[in-house]
Symmetry: C2
Subunit: 473 residues, 2 copies
Amino acid sequence: MNAPLPARLLPSIEPRPLPPEALAALRERFGERCSTAQAVREQHGRDESPFDVRPPDVVVYCESTEEVAAVVQIADRHAVPVIPFGTGSSLEGHLLAVQGGISVDLARMNKVVSVQPEDLTVTVQAGVTRMQLNNEIRHTGLFFPIDPGADASLGGMSATRASGTNAVRYGTMRENVLGLTVVTPQGKVIRTGTRARKSSAGYDLTRLMVGSEGTLGVMTEITLRLYPLPEAISAAICAFPSIDAAVRTTIQIIQMGIPIARCELLDAHAVRAVNRHDRLTLAESPMLLMEFHGSQAGVAEQAATVQEIASEHGGANFEWATTPEERTRLWTARHHAYFAGLQLKAGSRTVTTDTCVPISRLAECVTQASAAATAAGMTHYIVGHVGDGNFHIAYLVDPNIPAERELAEQLNDDVVQRAIAAQGTCTGEHGIGLHKMGFLVDEAGSDAVDLMRTVKRALDPKNIMNPGKIFAL
Amino acid sequence: MNAPLPARLLPSIEPRPLPPEALAALRERFGERCSTAQAVREQHGRDESPFDVRPPDVVVYCESTEEVAAVVQIADRHAVPVIPFGTGSSLEGHLLAVQGGISVDLARMNKVVSVQPEDLTVTVQAGVTRMQLNNEIRHTGLFFPIDPGADASLGGMSATRASGTNAVRYGTMRENVLGLTVVTPQGKVIRTGTRARKSSAGYDLTRLMVGSEGTLGVMTEITLRLYPLPEAISAAICAFPSIDAAVRTTIQIIQMGIPIARCELLDAHAVRAVNRHDRLTLAESPMLLMEFHGSQAGVAEQAATVQEIASEHGGANFEWATTPEERTRLWTARHHAYFAGLQLKAGSRTVTTDTCVPISRLAECVTQASAAATAAGMTHYIVGHVGDGNFHIAYLVDPNIPAERELAEQLNDDVVQRAIAAQGTCTGEHGIGLHKMGFLVDEAGSDAVDLMRTVKRALDPKNIMNPGKIFAL
């Protein structure tokens, strides 16, 4: 049993009782796909955040846009909260049913609706995960690059404006969602965007929905940009004498405009964790894990330039992985960092920072965060999409010891305030959820957050769409 | 004197009289920078569209965000329309004061506020033009790539979500605006976004404002991404036996993932126009004008691949321009296409299409548009940012002959309906303005446009921000 969550982190717990008529209507429509079983509800009332479970009243498994619309129409009629659920991999409490209500499970909406290789576009149902998508389109010679680590659903990735390891080259969900099918809070079905690469047709409803964390509607289908698989891919790791040296190498790569596809930092703790977890023998010092995409000659040229920059900063032991197997081994280790990191401390959960800062400020932000955690005696590790100025310091806390959580939150606060002072953001890719509502006000200012509230109230006057997230109303 | 505009194109002409108290308040605050002179008003009541002038009641020249806020506060108090004005180069009637009101001229807000070369970011006042920006940052080794042809203001480019010749490589204003200072319809000053490259912090107000055509607030400062000037740049022209061959070449370039920086189509009419205007001797057949950015080796490799693809489609006479002077000559000719084209027919104005379609549908859309104009005996020329699937057919009409306008509009209708049927958009980069309000409904559907209206009504309940544009309320 976890210690109770600090009250300041859950400002919006106002359960609304589920009217029996609403439950009856859902049962009539969905039969066995409407569940109130305790285990099912609990599974849908948590995510990868350190928060305690807040189960919804009922879980409905939807299989089509029309079914989602039917759920939302019932919810609208009875003013009941609706929380879209993909794979449950979000990190900021997005899925907790803080006001009760209906969890709409979209995992069965897992069809690739249509792929247009000649246009480099694909339309998927929201429950399709990124790995499933890439498996299903492999024969086309195209791929979808956005890779947040977890095998998240593309609906969830759109809802949190996710990005990850490839964003430095290919952008985030913001840049790669072309259009959406959305069920509005009134249960209407609208389409936003088109399959054209650009458009100036009216308000950018696609970008309004992407990153809205389920608070403005339920995304049920998503049209995405795809990219040709590069002719050549090469990956390399390089050890550095310090975090500072690794980050300064990155800064120079970006400032020179080298089109690096991935540029990931792991601190010595993270390297130790993946060594243990994946039985690797990487040098346990700060490391950059890089990937280059392009033509054979282009990749070779990029790699040579980067190797030169790295060596100027003391980078040593450049190791290349050009075969798919070697690359997979390296990237699998990176993707395991989260779970590998958890094993640095038995029984722990993580409080994870997600700041993103202008690239020139990154070295100081990362080194200060690392030093502060070390000085506080907090077990931690750092991974970072440093090409974007985005890094995560994961504080490993014993959920039974409130003082550890509090310390982690205090350290996180400091990291965030430093990022905001550097004209950066409290969240590069995880979203606000429950956890960062206070930080959003610090970052955007209360007038800008009020403008967000105005949009929310106008589109969802009954406040049924994932209420209590992003901001208090 | 022009013929009157067809009524269906101006559905929102409902002038609101300017209360004398509002004018007095503006005069008191702004003195000589508040003008009601007929010539000044007329200059601010038109743009590059074929529409007749609709002058505002008064023009105010603002020099700071605070001054813009003061104007909007006065406008809010008296429920008077506010129309932001940059350089007047928009194409869809955005600047016409169809309900009267105050034109806020931002041309004097022409300061580059701060440039951070190490972060590849810059903050400018909204009246800075793209050419001015690139002149002022030249010493940094960076550039701002978005280039719509006209030397538009960056505020105007943000307001219409502009793009242009470099978008195929660098994206549009959607991808390149990091943050904004906005005066809300209530006269408050908010900031959206940060200087970080990505963020998941709440609703994407930046993207909501970009492309909102002045209807949700006045953008007064803009933070933009910059890019390192490429190590090598090479431009080439290539003549093709048909529009179809040129476009099919483009499609293959995009499908192969070649990072071409510019890929412009000019049809034979456009080439003839620039030949005359710029005293050039280009072969008067469909032409691609291309530019490659990268390392010396990378540019050479891209160029070789493209030359091979072009020759498969009958592309001949590849001419290279590697010196800055040669490149400037070619691109100047391209940028003169609009005014050069007007001279194909004395005294004419243009009705210009702006559809953007999935790349595989581009060849059929362009060739059908060209054939239809020819069959109708309509003088026209075609230019296109074909790497994005975006092209413009400019119909040259005598503004004194209503039947010519009507015919142009009918041809435009057909081009748009074909684009929408191909899952494309009625406007890739010019915006909706007055001209495409009907097309927006065709494209997005009435429920999605209603959602836009809901946002508009919530943020601007008095409907003072550029009223009558994008949609009727």
